[in-house]
């Protein structure tokens, strides 16, 4: 009787899970494998190329300076925007944790950039960055900070910097939410004990807040670096990869190869290369999660 019931329970459980599994396999598992497959082939043909030819895409890619340039751009973009996101995010979280006038309103407002469609964010910022009529140039000139209108998106170092800044603006609220949630779970008595022990507010931040945040920060860094690395929409819509290819990141290269140069196989190869690069932070993420869970945080 018990056995039958257990068996039935198990079946029910699997039944409930089945649609999820099916969709996972169909829409994620299969395409994942297929992308590896595609990367070993040429565009229009769907027949599997020989092994030798198969790696040809990768070999061509790794010998192509444009590929490495895109990789470098991706690293610069990721590192730049991630650093800004962290600084802004932690700072804002600390500010929103302590006493503040209309604090819940502030907490709500700060989240908006993150929830906005990237398309909207891009439109707004491109309008702000507009050389002639954009508000940013007007304000900077009026304040006397610059003499001439700045070309935010059409000049080489500027474009990457602008994109990094907009990326920070768009994604830092994620850091705020994660850090704020953790800050609120630090027991107040720790700070009280430290103040009795003689610690100044700065010492308290260093000795108590930062160590308590280390877990969250590790996770946030890993997650955001993965997501920023693979970000297509923001960079593509801001600059299209330009001027020239100076802001072309790997995701944009995938798109360009597959849909503009019509070399499907090469596009897939770039995507697979991206996946390979991401395996490191992937693995790191799981290691960190496991360590945090065993620590009981």
């Amino acid at each position: 009787m018990k056995q039958a019931q257990l068996g039935r329970e198990q079946l029910l459980g699997l039944g409930l899970l089945a649609p999820t599994l099916i969709l996972f396999i169909l829409l994620i598992g299969y395409p994942l494998v297929d992308s590896l497959y595609l990367s070993l082939q040429r565009t229009s043909t769907l027949t599997l190329a020989s092994h030798f030819v198969g790696l040809g895409n990768f070999r061509a890619l790794f010998g192509d300076p444009e590929f490495w340039a895109a990789f470098a751009h991706t690293l610069v973009w990721t590192a730049g925007t991630l650093t800004l996101q962290l600084v802004l995010g932690v700072g804002m979280a600390l500010a929103l944790h302590g006493p503040l006038f209309a604090r819940s309103l502030a907490r709500g407002l700060v989240l908006f950039p993150y929830l906005l469609p990237t398309a909207v964010a891009v439109l707004v910022w491109r309008w702000l960055f507009n050389d002639l009529y954009g508000f940013l140039n007007y304000a900077l000139i009026a304040l006397g900070i610059v003499a001439h209108p700045v070309a935010w998106l059409s000049r080489t170092p500027n474009a990457m910097i602008s994109v990094i800044a907009v990326g920070a603006w768009k994604f830092f609220p994620f850091v705020v939410i994660a850090v704020l949630a953790r800050l609120q779970s630090i027991p107040e008595t720790l700070y009280e004990a430290a103040s009795i022990d003689g610690a100044s507010p700065l010492a308290q931040f260093w000795d108590i807040t930062l160590p308590q945040l280390s877990g969250v920060l590790a996770i946030v860094v890993l997650l955001r670096s993965i997501w920023d690395f693979k970000e297509f929409d923001l960079v593509y819509l801001m600059t299209g990869g330009g001027p020239g290819t100076s802001t072309e990141t790997l995701p944009i290269l995938v798109y360009r190869e597959a849909f503009q140069l019509l070399d499907f196989g090469r596009g897939a190869a770039v995507a697979v290369a991206m996946l390979a690069f991401l395996l490191v932070p992937f693995a790191a993420y799981f290691v960190v999660i496991r360590r945090l869970e065993s620590r009981g945080t």
């Binding site: 027991p187 008595t189 720790l190 009280e192 004990a193 430290a194 103040s195 009795i196 022990d197 003689g198 610690a199 100044s200 010492a203 000795d207 108590i208 160590p211 308590q212 280390s214 620590r295 009981g296």
Partner: protein
């Protein structure tokens, strides 16, 4: 030296609740003073004001002749043991103990010496390289104590430090704290709602209720001569029995009469009309057979027996020796010696006559 004086200390919180009303208290240097009372009585608020974690709305705090209520906690040279221990979770025991010394910029050799001395005294020297989460409750508590002791402060503040321990460990730690107090000779201010802790450990007890001081005395005085109905009912387990009655004059002096029993009062006590009489459970004398009380429940606890009696005056409890020959349903008569009665004013609850 390190006598602590509270003068007219008042705390009003932002939402309007009053923590303490006009609290004045003089704590002698080197004594173990317990702030005792039910939750919400203001004892923790008072402790936190002494520590500097709360700002008094009015009044002042002195350490000796030094006025401290404006000073930050770090400047007061107090040490505090929190109910939750508040050990720094990412630091080893050693670093936890060192922390206050680092903040006071002691050199490494001196720090190490003090840490070892304190650890040895508390018998935690084997745990110095562990993290707090690896320790048991009792061990964590000692580390919290150690962190307080390592600085050699003027005043120790302890906020219900034993409440998170199981009963056996609690009894053990009570004894250790008493020994520690003797060894260190420092002023200790202890907060608890457990009157057994208060009774066994304190030089004096300050009983607080709703933000006001009810009585400040040695434990035996608080127990045997409670100043009001609240203190009488709060201190002592099981709680004191209360019987309504009246005091009337007779040929021999004054007599107490109630629905349950009568007693002749000591000569100094005058007749005052209606009163509330308190009787400790161990002072009731029961005679089996007929009577105005019926046994409701018999609780045998090994070394003693508690008899819960239903009477015209309500339910009362009597404490007797281990041999209880009474059973539920038995009738008993209740008697009390007059000098064992505690009489309280019906309206104010103040002890009669006022000592």
């Amino acid at each position: 030296m390190a006598a602590v004086q509270l003068e007219h200390l008042r705390k009003e919180f932002a939402d309007g609740t009053i923590g303490t009303h006009d609290l004045s208290l003089q704590i002698e240097d080197g004594e173990f003073l317990t702030l005792l009372g039910p939750s919400g009585c203001g004892k923790t608020t008072t402790l936190r004001m002494i520590a500097g974690l709360e700002h008094p709305t009015g009044g002042s705090i002195f350490f000796g002749t030094r006025r401290v209520d404006h000073l930050a906690p770090a400047a007061r040279n107090v040490a505090m043991v929190f109910q939750s221990y508040a050990l720094y979770p990412h630091m080893t025991v050693r670093r936890n103990l060192e922390y206050p010394l680092r903040k006071r910029r002691l050199g490494p050799t001196e720090r190490a010496a003090r840490v070892h001395q304190t650890a040895a005294l508390l018998k935690i020297d084997g745990l110095l390289d562990r993290r707090p989460r690896e320790l048991s409750g009792g061990q964590q508590q000692r580390v919290a104590l150690g962190r307080a002791m390592v600085r050699d402060p003027d005043v120790f503040l302890l906020d219900e430090p034993l409440s998170n321990l199981d009963a056996e460990l609690r009894a053990h730690m009570r004894a250790e704290l008493i020994q520690l107090h003797h060894a260190l000779g420092r002023t200790m201010i202890y907060v608890t709602h457990d009157q057994m802790e208060a009774m066994t450990m304190s030089s004096r007890i300050a009983v607080l209720h709703q933000g006001r001081l009810q009585q400040l005395d040695r434990p035996d005085v608080v127990y045997h001569r409670p100043t009001n109905r609240f203190v009488a009912g709060f201190v002592g387990t099981p709680a004191m029995n209360f019987v309504a009655g009246e005091t009337i004059p007779d040929r021999a002096g004054t007599r107490f009469r109630s629905a349950l029993f009568e007693a002749q009062l000591p000569l100094e006590i005058e007749a005052k009309g209606k009163v509330l009489a308190g009787v400790r459970s161990e002072d009731l004398e029961l005679v089996a057979g007929a009577g105005a009380a019926r046994v409701a429940v018999v609780e045998t606890a090994g070394h003693e027996t508690l008899l819960w009696l239903d009477t015209a005056a309500g339910r009362i409890v009597s404490r007797t020796g281990p041999t209880a020959r009474l059973r539920p349903g038995d009738l008993v008569s209740v008697a009390v010696k007059g000098e064992k009665l505690h009489l309280f004013d019906n309206a104010t609850g103040v002890r009669l006559p006022v000592a």
